[in-house]
Amino acid sequence: MASFPLPLQPARSFGQTHRQDRWWLQPLSVLVGLTLFVVYATWAALQGEYYTYGPYLSPFYSPELWGRSEHAWWGPVPSWWPAWLPYSPAILILWAPAGFRLTCYYYRGAYYKAFWADPPNCAVGEPRHGYIGENGWPLRIMNIHRYFLYLAILFIFILAYDALKAYRFADGFGIGVGSLVLTVNVILLAGYTFGCHSLRHLVGGRRDNLRTARWCSGLYRGCSALNRRHMLWAWISLFSVMFADLYVRLCAMGIWKDWRLL
């Protein structure tokens, strides 16, 4: 039997591997994709303008708690907001979906590889010898994921309401390209949110006897079906939410014209 310490072979140095494939392509793609999104989302969230066009409201700015547009829930910018601090409705709410994605099991695995090279990819040497992982602080905070999930589900309902409102134009019911963009966006976001590993656990996975609660069994099967493509949902919903903001923004700036289909 093995006895400690095990006579193991020394760990390989950073990037050392005998893999012949382009193992660097996947983490590089994640790094580029996530960086692109973070840069755009930060820029868009700090603009504080061009986030509505007619019945459309950018998903980065929804819900607009206080603001200048007709979508604002509680009126204009509150008087208690510091005058020296630029106001944008997005910065009040974006922390919730950002936290949901930051603590998502899929994204964690992806950005640990892409941003920390921990590991750079499977069976590829790492740059550091010390390792704590999520076993200690600060990464133990990732266990908060399910609380962000609760907020993310709330956001899905809010964005669904926004998507419905996107069919109510000044002259009545209508369908614009923007209406479809916002509708597809909320469907993709729902696919990502309702396939969450934490939700899958909470609705049924935590039980050993699913048969005793049939509604749990049904929800668990539904979540599991979405969860099997969680990575796909994560990426397409990430880009759809970015595109939805871009669409509303370019329409509001007069660069794109919103075509009315009906």
């Binding site: 039997m1 093995a2 400690f4 310490p5 095990l6 006579p7 193991l8 072979q9 760990a11 390989r12 591997t17 005998h18 893999r19 012949q20 494939d21 099991y105 899929y106 964690r108 695995g109 640990y112 590889k113 921990d118 590991p119 499977c122 069976a123 040497g125 790492e126 010898h129 390792y131 704590i132 992982g133 999520e134 076993n135 200690g136 990464l139 133990r140 266990n143 908060i144 994921h145 399910r146 609380y147 590993h197 934490s198 899958r200 656990h201 909470l202 996975g205 935590r206 050993d208 006897n209 699913l210 048969r211 069994s217 969860n227 099997r228 969680h230």
Partner: protein, 284 residues
Amino acid sequence: MPQILFRIWRGDRHGGQFRDYQVEIGEGMVVLDAIHQLQATQAPDLACRWNCKAGKCGSCAAEVNGIPRLMCMTRISDFPPDQPIIVEPMQTFPLIKDLVTDVSWNYQVKQRIAPFRPRPPDAPDGTWRMSQADIDRVQEFRKCIECFLCQDVCHVLRDHHKHEEFIGPRFFVHTAALEMHPLDTENRIAALKRDFHIGYCNITKCCTKVCPEQITITDNAIIPLKERVVDEFYDPVLKLIQLVFRPRRSSSVPAPSSSPHPQSAPTLSSASATTSAPVSPSSP
């Protein structure tokens, strides 16, 4: 017949090097065939562990072109013929000789995990009733052939050598099969956190990618176990809700004992193999 260059690790724990061999390749050959041909013609002292040649025993686990694989399931035609095929032993375990490693650490780990402990029988004849739906989830984990490729690729073991603290993906699968079993009453959640350090797993899914049985290790075993740890240690709201609205999970079953489990208890295999049917303690 075409020839392909094989670059094979030769040596033991005191040292070694890659050596090149030209191997004649026939149609449909796998890497293990090439190794056997080498043993028969050029390197009779080449050490290699193998048994079934059908991807079911897990003995011939090694690293081919840097990726942990079963040699008997790796077709040579999958690789470009103009480049050498590199074959080396698993990096995560102590090397014995050439392609053979000492995987006995895994058996020590398994002994640390509390075994299956069923609830009292459901029927007067000493048998249990389970639904197929409840068993389906753990059936996936029972496909494991213990090739230990997942252990090999896991960077917590491979690069950080946390063998004394971390049990690795294979044994999270084993623990999940026990924890999610509808008859099991043992609670291994505290051990998962404190003794087996499931928090070291940072969900890179490498274990899932190399599994020759296509077990969805990360999504179906490790993450659900991590969520159960969150239930127990990191979710005060859920604990409060459980405290107020429902009895605790273990209240309907006898309290777990710290002693080894009774000899008469059925094994995990005897219970789960007979789903939707009475399970007898004496069934094989």
